[in-house]
């Protein structure tokens, strides 16, 4: 539960960062939200994919040694 809470708060701060960066550049609310969501999901998907790769590598190379 604590890990899930931490992940949720990190996702929240990531979205806030994307939102503020978009609001700094773009003129309309619709563009800001679209850009922020696009950036946020791109980063989240990328990080999740990276985690999957690390997890698979751990199972291949580290677990057999334990």
């Amino acid at each position: 539960m604590r890990l899930a809470e931490h992940i949720a708060f990190f996702l929240l701060i990531s979205f806030i960062t994307a939102l503020v960066c978009a609001a700094n550049r773009l003129p309309t609310l619709r563009q800001i939200l679209r850009d922020a969501l696009h950036f946020f999901f791109t980063i989240t998907v990328f990080v999740f994919a990276f985690c999957v790769v690390v997890y698979v590598l751990e199972w291949i190379f580290i677990r057999p040694l334990l």
Binding site: E5, F9, I13, I16, L19, V20
Partner: protein, 142 residues
Amino acid sequence: MTPQYLLTVILGWLVPGVGHWILGYRMRGALLGATLLGTFWLGECVLAGRMAVTLEVHPIFFGLQAGNGLSAFAANMLFGRPAHPDQTEVIQRNLPEHLNLGILFCSVSGLLNMLVVLQLLDPRTWREAAGAGRAAGGRGPS
């Protein structure tokens, strides 16, 4: 550097979103203000139990949190006293559960407001605002 330019930049630091509001970007100013102030006070009051902002205990994080302007100094003045006299030497065992997240939220909102202030410092922002006929008075950096 005109007085209006300096005043806008300083007010934009002191209260997030006000700089954009003065330039005529009302919606963006309101959004930035609500987001940054909401993030800061969420971190300070909800997550960290009013222990996230304290110059005396963690001055480096306070340097980052100072980007929020008045909110950081107000939080430090109101809640920034160490909980115990020797907090800098003795490890406290009854800290709020999400103290680290609270400090993170306050620091990130401070850094993001610095990003907003950098955009206010950019003459191109003023030219764009003047071109759209937004800024009241319209006198930018030069």
